[in-house]
C-alpha cells in the first residue's frame, strides 16, 4: 500500500478539524475539532517515521497524545466552568473582555 495515501488522509482529517473549529459554535464540538487536528498531525508524524525508517516521529506522536490528554482535562474544565457561570457552551458568548 502506498504511504502517500496516509498523508492524504491526514490532510483531509486536519482540514475537517480546522473547519470544525472555525465553523461550529459549541465549545465541545470545537474541542473535538481540535482533537481531530491533533490526531491528523499524529498520523502524519507516524507516516513520515515509517517513510524515513526513523522512530523519532513515532516518539513525538506519543508526546502529542500525552499533551493532548492534559489539554483535554484543562480545556473541559474551562468549558464546564464557563457553562456554570454563563449557562451557555457557545464560544461566541465568551466576550466579557470586549469593552
Amino acid at each position: 500500500m502506498n504511504l502517500t495515501n496516509y498523508l492524504v488522509l491526514a490532510t483531509i482529517l486536519f482540514t475537517i478539524g480546522a473547519l470544525t473549529v472555525l465553523v461550529r459554535r459549541n465549545a465541545i464540538v470545537v474541542f473535538m475539532g481540535v482533537e481531530l487536528m491533533l490526531n491528523a498531525a499524529n498520523l502524519a508524524f507516524v507516516t513520515f517515521a515509517r517513510m524515513h525508517g526513523d522512530l523519532t516521529g513515532q516518539v513525538v506522536a506519543f508526546f502529542v497524545m500525552v499533551v493532548a490528554a492534559a489539554e483535554v482535562v484543562v480545556g473541559l474544565a474551562i468549558i464546564v466552568a464557563i457553562y456554570r457561570t454563563r449557562r451557555s457552551a457557545s464560544v461566541d458568548d465568551v466576550n466579557l473582555l470586549k469593552s
Binding site: 480546522a18 473549529v21 472555525l22 459554535r25 464560544v91 461566541d92 465568551v94 466576550n95 473582555l97 470586549k98
Partner: protein
C-alpha cells in the same frame, strides 16, 4: 603669641598655603571680632523682635562703635609693626581635597584703611540714625540691617580669598536691597530696591566667572596665591579675570554701563544713602580693582578698560548731576561721578592706586557729610527733596549750612580742604600716565570733570541755602511760584544729628591735608600698592593746577549767577536738549529697556513658544500617535474566538505558502 585671642578655637599661626605672609598676632588677631560684633548685633535685633524695640537702636549703635575700638587697637598695632601685611587663619572653610578654601582674614594697610573708614563713618551714621529714624516704628529693624551691612562690608574688605570676599559682596548687596526698600509699603521704593538687586546680580556674574577662572588658573582663590599664579598664566587669562572683576566692580560701584540703579537707590532712608550709597558699599568696586592690582598688572588691556569706564562714568554722573532737582539724586549722580574719578585713578595702574584709595577715603567723609546734611535739610523741611522748593535756608539751619559748606568746598576741590589733595593728585596722575593719547584724553576728562563738579555742587548748595525763599513760611506768599499748600518751619536738627555732621565736616576739611603731609598716606599704602617713582605729567604741574582752579572758579561763579543772584523758578524750565536728557539720566533706562529688556522679553517669549510648540508638541504628538494606532488596532479585537482562530489559520497558511514559495 596668641594670648589675646580668648575663646577663638582655631588660630593657626603659621600654616596653610599663605605661610609666606606673617601671621596676625596680638591685637591684630582680633580681626574676626570686627565681623562678629555687628553680625551678632544684627542677629540679636532680628531674633528678639519687638521686645528689643525700646533698646534696639542703642545695641545697634554699640556694635559698630565697639568694632571701631577694635579697629583702632588693630591700627595702632599695625603701625607699631614693621611687617604690615598679616594673615589671620581661622581654619578651613570648604575642605575639598586638592581644592580647598581657607577661612582667613588679611590685615594690611588697604583693608585697615577700609575697616577704619567703615567703622568710623558707620558709627557716626548709626548715631545720626537714632535721631533721624526716631519716629519710625521699625527703627529696630533698620538698625539690624545697618549692623548686617557693617558686618558684611568688613567681611568683604578683610577676606583673604575671593570666595570669602564674595560672601561679603553678596551680604552688602542684600543689606543694600533691604535698606533701599526699607519703606517698601510704597511701591516705588520696592521697585527701586528690586532694580538695585537685579543690576547688582549682573555684576555678580562677573565676580563668579572671575572666581571660576581663578580656580582654573591657580587652583585656589586665596588672594596671594591667585596674584602669583595669574602673572605666570599669561595675558589672556589675566585679561579675562580683569574684565570680569571690572564687571563686578561696575555693578557694585554703579559704573557705566551698570550705573542705572544708584539714582533710584535714593528711595532708601537718607542715612542709608550716606553710609551705603556714598561712603562705603559703592566704593567696594574700587577696592576690588585695587586689591586685584597684580591681576591688572598682567593685563594692560583690562586696565585701560577700567580707566575708560571710570572716565565715561565721571562725565556721565557730572552731566546728570547738573540737571537733577532732587537733592539726593544730585548727590547720587555726584557719587557716581566721584567713583568714576577713583576708577579712573585705579585704571591708571600703580601710579593711581594710592590716589584712588585716598580719594575714596576723603570722599567717604565729605560725601557722607553732604548726605547727612541733605537729610538734615529734609528733616527740617518736612521730607521735601525738591531743591526748587528750598532756598535761603542758611539763616534757619546754621550748623547744617556750615557743615555742608565744608563738604561742598571739599568736593569741588578748593584748597586746603580734603578733596583738593586727593582729586588734584588724580588729575595730575591722569596727565602723567604712560602712553601716547592716554595722558591727554584722561587728563582732559578729569579736568573737565572738575569744572562740572564745581558747577553742580555749587548749584546744589546755592539752591538750598541761598537765593530767594521758595517755600511757604506761613504768609501764603511764595516768591516765584505757587504755594504748595504746606507751610514749612525750617529748623535745625537735634544734636544727635548735628554732631555726626560736625565730625564729618571736620574730616572733610582737615583729613586730606593731614594725610597728604609728606605723602603719609601713599607711604602707608605702599605694602599693598607698591612703591612708584614719581612720573612727570605731559603738562607742567603748575599749568594743571592753575587750570583746575580756573575751572573751579568758573563753575562756582556760573552757579552763583544762575541760582543765587538770579531767582530760581519753582517749576523747572523746559531747558535745552541736554538738560532734558540729563534729567532723564541721559536715557539710561530707555536704553536699557530697548537694548536689554525688550530683546530679553522677546527671547523668553519665543523660548516659551518653542517649548510649547516644539518640545511639548513632539511629546504629546508621540502620545497621540500611539493612542491613535491603539484605537485602530482595537477594532481587530472583536471578542469572537472563531474569528481569532480564522486569523490564525489564515496567518499560518500565508506563512506556509511563503516558506514553500521561497523553498521552491
Amino acid at each position: 603669641m596668641t594670648t589675646a585671642l580668648g575663646g577663638l578655637p582655631a588660630v593657626l599661626t603659621a600654616a596653610g598655603p599663605a605661610s609666606a605672609v606673617a601671621p596676625a598676632d596680638g591685637a591684630l588677631g582680633l580681626a574676626w571680632l570686627l565681623v562678629a560684633l555687628p553680625l551678632a548685633g544684627a542677629a540679636v535685633l532680628l531674633l528678639t523682635g519687638r521686645r528689643a524695640d525700646r533698646w534696639g537702636h542703642l545695641l545697634g549703635t554699640a556694635t559698630p562703635v565697639a568694632a571701631l575700638v577694635v579697629a583702632v587697637a588693630m591700627w595702632v598695632a599695625l603701625l607699631g609693626s614693621s611687617d604690615r601685611v598679616r594673615e589671620l587663619e581661622l581654619g578651613t572653610w570648604l575642605p575639598g581635597g586638592a581644592f580647598s578654601v581657607d577661612l582667613g582674614m588679611r590685615v594690611d594697610p588697604l583693608s585697615m584703611t577700609f575697616v577704619l573708614l567703615v567703622t568710623f563713618v558707620g558709627s557716626l551714621i548709626h548715631v545720626y540714625s537714632i535721631a533721624y529714624m526716631a519716629h519710625d516704628p521699625h527703627r529696630r529693624r533698620f538698625f539690624a540691617y545697618l549692623n548686617l551691612f557693617v558686618a558684611a562690608m568688613l567681611l568683604l574688605v578683610l577676606a583673604d580669598s575671593y570666595v570669602l570676599l564674595f560672601v561679603g559682596w553678596e551680604g552688602v548687596g542684600l543689606a543694600s536691597y533691604l535698606l533701599i526698600g526699607f519703606w517698601d509699603h510704597e511701591r516705588p521704593n520696592a521697585v527701586a530696591a528690586k532694580k538695585a538687586f537685579v543690576v547688582n546680580r549682573v555684576g555678580d556674574i562677573g565676580l563668579i566667572v572671575a572666581i571660576m577662572a581663578m580656580v582654573a588658573v591657580a587652583g585656589s582663590t586665596d588672594v596671594g596665591v591667585v596674584h602669583e599664579a595669574v602673572g605666570a598664566a599669561g595675558e589672556g587669562w589675566a585679561t579675562l579675570i580683569g574684565l570680569m572683576l571690572l564687571l563686578a566692580a561696575c555693578g557694585k560701584s554703579a559704573q557705566f554701563p551698570l550705573q542705572s540703579w544708584l539714582g533710584d537707590a535714593m528711595a532708601g532712608p537718607t542715612p542709608v544713602s550716606a553710609l551705603i550709597h556714598a561712603a562705603t558699599m559703592v566704593t567696594a568696586g574700587v577696592y576690588l580693582v585695587v586689591r586685584s592690582g597684580p591681576v591688572y598688572e598682567a593685563a594692560p588691556t583690562a586696565l585701560l578698560v577700567v580707566a575708560v569706564v571710570g572716565a565715561i562714568t565721571l562725565l556721565f554722573g557730572a552731566v546728570v548731576g547738573c540737571a537733577k532737582d532732587d537733592i539726593k539724586k544730585v548727590l547720587a549722580a555726584s557719587t557716581m561721578s566721584q567713583i568714576g574719578y577713583m576708577m579712573l585713578a585705579a585704571g591708571l595702574g600703580p601710579i593711581g592706586y594710592a590716589f584712588a584709595i585716598f580719594h575714596l577715603l576723603t570722599h567717604g567723609f565729605f560725601k557722607a557729610g553732604l548726605f547727612l546734611g541733605a537729610g538734615s535739610v529734609m528733616h527740617g523741611m518736612g521730607d521735601e527733596v525738591d531743591m526748587r522748593r528750598f532756598g535761603a535756608l542758611a539763616r534757619y539751619m546754621r550748623v547744617t549750612w556750615v557743615t555742608m559748606a565744608l563738604g561742598w568746598l571739599a568736593i569741588i576741590g578748593v584748597p586746603p580742604f580734603s578733596g583738593f589733595w586727593s582729586k588734584d593728585r588724580i588729575v595730575e596722575s591722569a596727565f602723567a600716565v604712560a602712553g601716547t593719547w592716554e595722558p591727554w584724553v584722561f587728563g582732559t576728562v578729569a579736568l573737565v570733570g572738575v569744572g562740572i563738579t564745581a558747577f553742580y555742587m555749587s548749584r546744589l548748595f546755592f539752591m538750598t541755602f541761598h537765593g530767594t525763599r521758595r517755600w511757604d513760611d506761613g504768609t501764603g506768599v511764595v516768591p516765584g511760584g505757587e504755594p504748595t499748600g504746606r507751610v514749612d518751619h525750617p529748623h535745625e536738627s537735634p544734636a544727635l544729628m548735628t554732631w555726626p555732621m560736625i565730625v564729618l565736616a571736620v574730616g572733610s576739611a582737615a583729613l586730606g591735608g593731614a594725610l597728604a603731609i609728606r605723602g603719609a598716606f601713599t607711604t602707608w599704602l605702599e605694602p599693598v600698592t607698591g612703591h612708584v617713582e614719581h612720573h612727570e605729567p605731559v603738562l607742567p604741574v603748575v599749568a594743571i593746577m592753575v587750570t583746575t582752579f580756573l575751572l573751579i572758579a568758573v563753575g562756582v561763579v556760573l552757579a552763583w549767577r544762575q541760582y543765587a543772584a538770579a531767582p530760581v523758578a519753582v517749576v523747572p524750565p523746559r531747558g535745552s536738549v541736554l538738560t532734558r536728557a540729563a534729567r532723564r539720566d541721559l536715557y539710561q533706562d530707555a536704553v536699557a529697556e530697548a537694548v536689554l529688556m525688550r530683546p530679553g522679553q522677546y527671547l523668553t517669549r519665543s523660548l516659551v513658544f518653542a517649548d510649547r510648540q516644539v518640545v511639548d508638541g513632539a511629546v504629546s504628538g508621540v502620545a497621540r500617535g500611539t493612542a491613535g494606532a491603539g484605537e485602530l488596532l482595537r477594532r481587530l479585537q472583536t471578542g469572537f474566538v472563531r474569528s481569532y482562530a480564522l486569523q490564525m489559520v489564515v496567518g499560518i497558511v500565508a506563512l506556509v505558502v511563503v516558506v514553500l514559495a521561497v523553498r521552491i
